[in-house]
Symmetry: C2
Subunit: 378 residues, 2 copies
């Protein structure tokens, strides 16, 4: 495969870099945040809004969810997820591993794969490295993920080591299946392996070296943002970035807050996904240019100022905090719709600005000045 990643600039004070990722459904400017579209929809947001208002360049789908509902057959008969959900820009699917561990009931992990019960109807299913590649072939995302075990935090060292070794063996099986098959919809799919190793530096190093040796075009870091302190997450991320090739994009899975994202960019991460912006939106927590807004708070009751005058989302410029508070308190769906647009727009503006400042050479000072406002309450 020809190179899919160009690095346009590297920050002199940090390990941040600005690049372009060439994918079958279009180019993605990095660093990038990928909105999570669990069941083939980014919750409460129209696909057209993701393009026009949020500026999303790539979105996620969850293999576990899509496999259970609507089912792989439905997506395949539609001609893949891009046709099914009418999203013509790049898509990444996870392998389903994370959800099997976090959502399903009665999962049983063996060398062969994972037996689990659906969280929807209790039905029995089995995921293996091979079957999750097959499913992801049928879903047809631009980037597909290797099947791994995501260990919890804290994790017993013995268990973490055995799990990491199994994840590595699973990777070999994923790569074999990947090499034995082709994309079903006339475009290539890129397989990304995942570094594990819990919070043990020697394992993280060992896993990063193993994953790097697979020589795939994108490398991912899993098993972080699972409850460990931020400092530990940053330490592991820094260590792993140091052991992954510089010339390939690095994807930190499931991270995180706006501050987490800026710090991780400075450590050399290029790609992020997280449910935080959309989930917090539905719970009334907004990321805005004035700081964090808890929209249910009485203080916004008669605040007739724009939700965020600096947002790329027109709804955030047109509608007021008082109106949004009313919608959220009344349980109106428009509340979740406007809040989700605000938070996703904030995240995408954050990574666009980060990219611009990396290109400008002003990333470090910009980040230092911005960090306090990212965590303060408005």
């Amino acid at each position: 495969m020809s190179t899919i990643f160009e690095i346009n600039a590297t920050d002199s004070s940090t390990n941040a870099r600005a690049g372009i990722l060439h994918l079958p459904h279009g180019d993605v400017e990095t660093p990038i945040f990928m909105p999570v579209g669990t069941a083939g929809t980014v919750k409460a947001v129209h696909q057209q809004e993701l393009k026009d208002q949020v500026g999303a360049q790539i979105i996620l789908g969850n293999t576990y969810h899509l496999y259970l509902r609507p089912g792989t057959d439905v997506i395949q008969s539609a001609g893949g997820l891009h046709h099914f959900n009418h999203w013509d820009r790049p898509i990444l699917t996870d392998s389903g591993g994370y959800q099997v561990y976090s959502l399903s009931q009665q999962r049983k992990i063996k060398e062969e794969g994972v037996k689990f019960r659906s969280h929807i109807d209790g039905s029995l299913h089995f995921f293996s490295p091979e079957s999750t590649i097959d499913i992801q072939r049928k879903i047809g995302a631009d980037i597909i993920m290797a099947f791994d075990e995501c260990t919890p935090y804290p994790c017993d060292e013995r268990y973490a080591f055995k799990s990491m070794q199994m994840t590595h063996r699973w990777l070999d099986r994923c790569i074999d299946r990947y090499n034995d098959t082709t994309g079903l919809y006339g475009h290539e799919q890129i397989l990304a392996p995942i570094v594990q190793g819990s919070t043990y530096p020697h394992m993280r190093k060992q896993s990063a070296d193993y994953i790097a040796s697979a020589d795939m075009p994108i490398n991912a870091i899993g098993g972080l943002s699972v409850g460990e302190p931020d400092d530990e997450m940053y330490a592991m991320t820094a260590l792993v970035c140091d052991h992954l090739p510089h010339d390939k994009p690095r994807y930190l899975m499931g991270v995180g807050t706006p501050a987490n994202i800026l710090e991780s960019i400075s450590l050399g991460i290029d790609m992020f996904d997280c449910v935080l912006p959309t989930r917090n939106a539905r719970h009334g927590l907004l990321y805005t240019s004035r700081g964090i807004v808890h929209i249910r708070n009485e203080k916004w009751k008669q605040c007739h100022e724009a939700i965020d005058p600096e947002s790329s989302a027109s709804t955030s410029r047109d509608h007021t905090l008082a109106y949004l508070r009313h919608l959220v308190i009344s349980g109106e769906q428009l509340g979740a719709m406007i809040s989700s647009l605000q938070n996703l727009s904030f995240y995408l503006q954050l990574v666009r600005n980060a990219r611009r400042h990396i290109l400008d050479g002003t990333f470090y000072t910009w980040k230092a000045a911005l960090l306090p406002t990212l965590t303060q309450s408005a």
Copy 2:
């Protein structure tokens, strides 16, 4: 007040007419359907979509809901509902009467007004003809409604008669209060009185004559579509239209299905509102150009055709029945968003087409040909 209604054409075979209603926030082409925005939002639809996708020209707000939440003070401090919800086209508010009878607990109707408990928190409130005019002044809609009693169906004749007489006395009090006050936001507000009389022809005639004698620019018909057979509704509507002035718009409140709307247009109705399109959308019932679609039905599981290729809503042209079924079955908010756009677009296209055919002189034959497809299952 100068005339606010122009009639552009009258159908030769029916009593249908096409007109233009001049309101403070813009012109409205009739016959018109007004989407219901109960709590200051048409559920699950962005205001911009109401304009661009649905082609809504005027929306409703519910005085009862807005009074309870966010409260009249909040809306007044925003400068009225138009500013509060960022909708710059005409708005109509009902008087709150209907919701007091249908939603609130422990209501007590007396000559002075109605004491009721909020359905939200059980708190005690009082609505009178005067207070509902005051509240509607603060909300600031283009059209405000007189406070009436909407009798249930069936209704004892004695009760219906006493109730109608009280509604007429309440109208006098509404008009007095209306004349003693002015709009708060620099534009006029039009007060519309409401014909009652249950399903008793002599009362309907008496009420229509009384309401006509008030000589207001718009006349409304209430107390229908409350459970009576369609034939009875049409008979009452025809009778009342006959007794209301020809040169003023007639508004049939709370009606109805697409077929109800076409039949009532042919009887001389110019304005409609109903929760059906949005409520049915949220329950998975779609009005489409191919007939009624129950989207949860298994038959749509792998139907990768557009939801409605003839819809004005781009989401209905871009997305498939299979995708929408998946969203609705998965409980995804996007399902309600796309379904609501479909149904509202269908209703607005229906009245736009009706208007065009009235202007063309082809209304009667068009209606006859269309009616069967409006009730058939796709």
